[in-house]
């Protein structure tokens, strides 16, 4: 079997160029809230490492640094 062009991608690669071109506009989620300096940050709730619900608004009245990271 002959494999040519962009289809000859390494199996580990996520997608072909063709697929990228065919894909919809990046960030098709239309209700993105822009994070703008000077604007309030909308409230959200996420579970802590021990499963306790934590809200951004729990920190009202304090200066807060939010640090986003990942284990990878």
């Amino acid at each position: 079997m002959k494999i040519t062009g962009v289809l000859a991608w390494h199996p580990e690669v996520a997608m072909t160029k063709e697929e990228i071109e065919r894909s919809t506009t990046p960030m098709s989620n239309s209700n993105i809230v822009p994070l703008e300096v000077g604007q309030p940050v909308p409230d959200f709730e996420l579970p802590s490492l021990d499963g306790r619900p934590v809200k951004l608004s729990d920190y009202r009245g304090k200066k807060l640094l939010v640090f986003m990271w990942a284990s990878w």
Binding site: W9, H10, E12, V13, A14, M15, K17, E19, I20, S23, T24, P26, M27, S28, N29, S30, N31, I32, V33, P34, L35, E36, V37, G38, Q39, P40, V41, P42, D43, F44, L46, P47, S48, L49, D50, G51, V54, L56, S57, Y59, R60, G61, K62, K63, L64, L65, V66, F67, M68, W69, A70, S71, W72
Partner: protein
């Protein structure tokens, strides 16, 4: 890599605890608390870490990378943001955050915060596929999770948060207790050579 910053932030947090300052750490790990907790514990962190397993915030705010930093004042107003490359190890970052801690943040007159809206159900956003993937990862169905992540990536090809989880689903052995950074570097190179580069892999 961002998890290596946790001890640095712990030291920073301890130094500023009496400055009306708090630190909230958010791990964006699809497998959940079990992969984030070892890094929090290893840093002896006393600040709170929460887990954003489904990338709720990335979807809502439109970012595609970590590490990120947001500085929010006592009234809930965003005063500083850095998306990608945010690091305690950079003197400039430390100074910026410290100067905001010292600054008087205006009146203590908090207006109620609006709640973040859940992602739209209309259309297929990358987030919906990502959520499916998280469910499949929890069920140990890594192959099916990879397919869902691939669909997520098709919706947002430069999203590095999605891509890393796809690598993890395809190669769980590279993301064990030790994270194989050399392999990640090679993987990025392989993809870059094929004309497929992430937005801002940090």
């Amino acid at each position: 890599m961002c998890r290596y910053q946790l001890p640095g932030w712990q030291e920073f947090y301890a130094a500023h605890q009496n400055d009306n300052f708090e630190l909230l750490s958010i791990a964006v790990d699809a497998p959940g608390a079990k992969v984030a907790k070892p890094w929090h514990d290893k840093a002896h962190a006393t600040f709170t870490t929460v887990v954003d397993q489904t990338n709720l915030l990335a979807g809502a705010f439109g970012f595609k990378v970590v590490p990120n930093g947001l500085m929010i004042d006592a009234n809930g107003i965003l005063r500083f943001k850095q998306i990608g490359g945010f690091s305690i190890d950079k003197a400039e970052t430390r100074q910026q955050v410290e100067s905001l801690i010292r600054e008087k943040f205006g009146d203590q007159n908090p207006a109620p915060l609006e709640a973040l809206q859940p992602p739209s159900a209309a259309g297929e956003s990358w987030q919906q596929h990502f959520q499916t993937a998280v469910r499949l990862i929890e069920q140990g169905q890594h192959k099916e999770a990879a397919a869902a992540l691939r669909r997520a990536l098709l919706r947002d090809p430069t999203n590095f948060l999605v891509r890393k989880q796809l690598w993890r689903a395809l190669h769980p052995e590279k993301f064990g207790e030790q994270i194989d950074l050399d392999w990640q570097q090679q993987q990025r190179q392989r993809e870059a050579e094929l004309g497929f580069e992430a937005a801002n892999p940090v």
